[in-house]
Amino acid sequence: GESVGLHLPTLSVQEGDNSIINCAYSNSASDYFIWYKQESGKGPQFIIDIRSNMDKRQGQRVTVLLNKTVKHLSLQIAATQPGDSAVYFCAENGGNNRLAFGKGNQVVVIP
C-alpha cells in the first residue's frame, strides 16, 4: 500500500550546523505535505507545510523542499539549536480527509 517513510532513524548534529531531514513518499497523488516536530512528552507541533504546486517553501530557520519527480521531501533547519532536539516526521494527505504520517526521525543537537 501507499506509505510515508523516513530514511534515517537518528541524526546527530553540532549546534550551529544545518540539519537536513529526509522523507520519501509513495503516493504520487498526494498534493499536500506537512512537517511536524515532536518534543518528549508533547504532542506533534506543526512546523511548515507545502503544496504540490511548489518546490520550496521557507519559514523561520526552516525550509521544506519537494521533489515530485522522485517523491522526496526534505526539511532543512538552519543554525540548529539545542531546542531543535526532537523527533521530526512528515505527513502527506492520504485521501479520505486523512493525513498519513511517517515514523519519525530523531534529531539530537550536540552542544
Binding site: 510515508v4 499536500y32 506537512i34 512528552g41 508533547k42 504532542g43 506533534p44 507541533q45 506543526f46 507545510d49 516526521f89 494527505n93 492520504g94 485521501g95 479520505n96 480527509n97 486523512r98 493525513l99 504520517f101 511517517g102 515514523k103 519519525g104
Partner: protein, 113 residues
C-alpha cells in the same frame, strides 16, 4: 484559545476495565481525529470525525469507540482494556480535512496492566 485539550494526561488501567479519553477543542474545527503512537513508531489513526454526528474508522479501530455529539468534543472509549492498547493517545483537529495541518493535544499516556 486553549487549542486541543486532552484529559487525563496519564492513566493506568487493569485488563478488562473501561475508560473514556476526553478531547475538546475550542477552535470550532469540523474535523477531529484520534491517533495512537507506540514507542518508536508513527501515528496510527484510530477514528476520525468530519463533523458533529459523523464518525469513521481509521487504520486501527478495533477495541475502540467514539462519538461526536458536539463540534467541540470527541471522546474515545475503551470498553475492555487489553495490554495491546498500552500506548500514547493523541487527539487532533483541523478545519478542513487533509489540506490543512492538524493541531494536536499533548496526549494521554495509557498503560494497561
Amino acid at each position: 484559545n486553549a487549542g486541543v485539550t486532552q484529559t487525563p494526561k496519564f492513566r493506568i488501567l487493569k485488563i478488562g476495565q473501561s475508560m473514556t479519553l476526553q478531547c475538546t477543542q475550542d477552535m470550532n474545527h469540523n474535523y477531529m481525529y484520534w491517533y495512537r503512537q507506540d514507542p518508536g513508531m508513527g501515528l496510527k489513526l484510530i477514528y476520525y470525525s468530519v463533523g458533529a454526528g459523523i464518525t469513521d474508522k481509521g487504520e486501527v479501530p478495533n477495541g475502540y469507540n467514539v462519538s461526536r455529539s458536539t463540534t467541540e468534543d470527541f471522546p474515545l472509549r475503551l470498553e475492555l482494556a487489553a495490554p495491546s492498547q498500552t500506548s500514547v493517545y493523541f487527539c487532533a483537529s483541523n478545519l478542513q480535512g487533509d489540506s490543512q495541518p492538524q493541531h494536536f493535544g499533548d496526549g494521554t499516556r495509557l498503560s494497561i496492566l
